[in-house]
């Protein structure tokens, strides 16, 4: 095995990792805000990929240009999710919260299956195509752009949460929603914003991945699993932790696939998850 192959795997893993990081950041933001894990996160990702696909297939809009529309659609989807489901279960037991978002995931996935069948689709001849060749390492152009866009979105999200007034209000609500309400920050509105931004992140990732990934109704499941793992690794609620965790997962996935057996990618990630949460229950970068 040559070093080029390993380098190739590292770069591939890194690029995937950045995408996982952004998906996980959306999940983590929502969790940090209201202690609810969105078990429908993968389905939301699937929706954003389909949004990108249909905008291309029906209106001939290339995924790279439809990104803003996809983001808006997903943000809207987030607000709807909050308005029709989440706000009713904020005070419920954790079990009920898990079941509710789990129910949402079944609902979205099976509706998608009914409407669009479980067929595999892909965007034919997108603007972003081909690959770069640096030495003996190949880098897919759409993959590279996708991961860079995700990284930029991630940085944007981080700056938004830590620097802007709305972001700080979100953080205040995350820490103590009652105290925040006393300060005049309406928690219900913050939650809706959190959902909009959280799913907006998913919109970016899904829209970019539509360039080169097969689009089908079950596509979100594995991504969601990796996002759950990333959120747990990074420490529930920590956004910056998601970046590191996402990259770790991407690397474990691609290097494990290269060095051992690609069909057990999920297991390597799972082992990492178990090791981390057992020895460091607060996650690698947890705040507490």
């Amino acid at each position: 095995m040559t070093s080029e192959i390993i380098l190739q795997a590292i770069i591939t893993g890194l690029m995937m990792g950045l995408i996982y990081a952004l998906i996980a950041a959306g999940l983590s933001l929502i969790f940090g805000l209201m202690d609810i894990v969105n078990f429908a996160h993968g389905e939301h990702l699937m929706l954003s990929m389909f949004s990108s696909f249909w905008l291309w297939s029906l209106f001939g809009l290339d995924p790279i240009f439809s990104i803003p529309i996809t983001i808006l659609l997903m943000a809207f989807c987030g607000i709807i999710t909050h308005y029709f489901l989440i706000r009713y279960i904020l005070k419920a037991k954790m079990l009920i919260q898990i079941c509710a978002t789990f129910g949402l995931s079944i609902f979205i996935r099976s509706i998608a299956q009914l409407l669009w069948t479980p067929d595999f689709r892909n965007v034919d001849k997108p603007l972003l195509e081909g690959r770069l060749e640096i030495g003996s390492v190949f880098i897919g152009q759409p993959q590279l752009i996708a991961s860079l866009v995700c990284l930029i979105a991630f940085i944007g999200l981080y700056l938004f949460v830590t620097k802007t007034e709305t972001g700080l209000a979100l953080q205040a609500t995350a820490q103590d929603r009652h105290a925040a309400e006393i300060l005049g920050i309406p928690s219900n509105k913050m939650f809706a914003i959190g959902w909009a931004i959280g799913l907006g992140c998913v919109g970016v990732a899904g829209g970019m991945m539509a360039n080169y990934f097969f689009i089908f109704t079950d596509v979100g499941i594995n991504f969601a699993l990796f996002a759950f793992v990333a959120v747990a690794l990074g420490g529930f609620g920590s956004i910056i932790g998601c970046l590191y965790a996402g990259i770790i997962i991407g690397l474990v996935e691609s290097l494990g696939g290269l060095l051992i057996d690609p069909s057990f990618k999920l297991l390597y990630v799972f082992v990492i998850y178990l090791l981390v949460v057992i020895y460091r229950p607060q996650g690698l970068f947890g705040r507490y």
């Binding site: 009920i96 079944i106 793992v229």
Partner: protein, 337 residues
Amino acid sequence: MDNRLLIAKSEPLWNTNNRVIFLVGSLITLLFALPLFGLNSFYLHLFIMIFMHAVMAQSWNVIAGFSGQISLGHGAFFGIGAYATSFFYIQFGTSPWISMPIGILVSGIFAILIGIPMLRLSGHYFAIATLLIGISFQVVFQRWDLVGAASGLWVPMTSEDSWLALQFHKSKVPYYYIFLIFFLITFFIVWLLSRSKLGYRLRAVRDDPQAALSLCINVSNYKIIAYVISAMIMAPMGSLFAQYILIIDPDRVFNIEISIIVLLITVLGGIGNVWGPIIGAAILIPISEYSRIYLGGTGGAVDLILYGLILMIICIFRPDGLISFVPKDILERKKQR
């Protein structure tokens, strides 16, 4: 001596309601008598599925409802049970009656192995870990050549009905009675469990693990015990299901839908309540079987849409499940004000 204390002590330990006893008794009699009325094979199948899913949901109820740990990968134990009987039958011709206990044992051992590291996790961490466990089993079995990898195991058919090989080709009636008996036994066991000291302690662990520790309850041990019991209830259903359909593959017996449906049935019926899974299964399974008949191939998606919708509606409006519609005086004692 205090009069009120004497009255309290003279109360029976359990609230026995004659109406409930009568109802349950006549229901059991009816269930035993049903095949005598010449049910067609669709209805037999429907009842078999209800019994099976009620037991599977009851298994989930033990870990989630009694001890409060939300397992999202409970299908794993169903699959272990299914593979145990089919594998031993194909390889060694072992009777399912022997391999079923093996499946139960293996499930129990796996529950311990999984439980020791994982039950230290709480809440979301545990739920996510079990989700991963469930899918890991599916992935491993899809690639494991010894058990047929993705194409699964095909149990060779016996030429005639055989109780030893647990195969019946002429009629579904024997399956009906086998599932019914397992259903009744499981419910009796869980009913006893819910009234035992173990049941009390598990509920203590569920409601407040910290407080449970102050009452000498070793919380992690009790969680593992609940997980093992739950796994051992699940496994025989996998075994019986494998004998019922005779073809098993990873996508069928390790499907995440199994983990979903047990959760759904229990939450719909009433989590933490022995009767919840029965009510849930009696409502949900007909929905899925009928939609499969009337809507053909796409039925699978339609019943899942309904499932998702029902689950969300229940979570919003009736978090205690349908059992909470039953009048309070049947379930609880009259309160003295």
